[in-house]
Amino acid sequence: MDKNMELIHKLLDGELSEEEKKEILDRIDSDPVLKMELDALSMAVHIVEKSERLPVPPSFTSNVMGKLPARKSSYREKVWNFFFKDRVLRWNMVTAAAAVCLAIIISAGVFKFQKKHDLISYANMPVESTSIVKFNLYVPDAKEVAIAGDFNKWKIDGNSMKKQDNGIWTIEIPLKPGVYNYMFVVDGKVWLSDPNAESYQDDGFGYKNSILKVAKL
């Protein structure tokens, strides 16, 4: 490659000093062949850069997630998990029925106790205030992103998020104090956990719900 062409490539890469720039631009000014070469090169680069990006097949994420191998945990991890890992209670009808009975008995007991002592005055309880919670998710390729959770009865079109210029989708939702399960829905079908969530919980459908705790102000 001759010296001029080398300089032209450096010019395209924005890697020339002011002096070199002047030098090559002067040469281009006076040499129509060189100018044609620059035009043709810029055009080739432009065509490549504006070439359309192909849309990814819709089942891509679920295919990848389905093929991930299970992680084998070491003996040490198993011991650690036994003591410290969050547990998920798996229900069946018998345990559910037992739990309901227990709950009725306890609540009846508490009710009786409260009636007897009448210590709690509900009149003094403050009215619950709402906080504005901002949710963010970076998925630049998505066409639409929504948030679904306890607060909108898991409707996937209840709260659509807005895309910012930097590819981050955001939404602000007013929420009363409490604990909420939620997930993001990308393009109406891919369910994603929130990478910024405080904690997670199995949802029973093979996903993990993100959990948000809104504290009292």
């Binding site: 100018k35 810029s42 850069e49 990006r53 990848v64 997630m65 998505a142 956990s193 993990k208």
Partner: protein, 223 residues
Amino acid sequence: MIDLAERIQSYISKGSLQLVTFSFFIRLMYKKEDKEDKDDMQTEEYAIIKQCMDGNADIYSVLVERYKGMVYNIAYRMLGDTESANDMAQESFISAYIALKDFKKNSKFSTWLCSIAINKCRDHLRSKKDTVSIDEIAEVSASKIATPEDAACNRQIGHSIQTALNELPEEYREAVVLKHIEGLDYNEMENLLGVSSKTLKVRTHRGREMLKKLLRERGISDG
């Protein structure tokens, strides 16, 4: 910088080409990145990776969703057909997941993932080279003869740019795809490919030269 833009404006001939070249330089000059946003994202991605390694595999879907477009399109530009691109892109994500423990905290996940994808594509091209079928040979030689119909087809730039890319040697194609389709700088490419930026510049320059020739031969213009 503005002075440069004006000078470029002044010497380029009238017509659409003028706009093309001008917009190219303008973009070159004002390519700014919001560094804070990127730092935030990097911390977030480390957190996601940590969670994956702690056994929360589901959260990996966030990274897949985030980078599937990048990986799939690199694979498509490298391999030239959507089916292999889909396979190789999926395999890249799976290999990355298996190798998460090797991911170094001071590097960017996207760069690391990209290098895995490029290696997958190289392996795929190599295995394909070993088993070229008679059909494919026939296909290639048939496509070399340009008919008027081909010329019309060539105006579909998306299609023709891919056939031009397919003709570049693998190393030049890698460099052009990463530099001009993914918009990486030479430092990022150096980290990703493990080749010095000096060599990568030469490859990019030669790749661009070849593309220029191929597009000129086929009479492809920007429309």
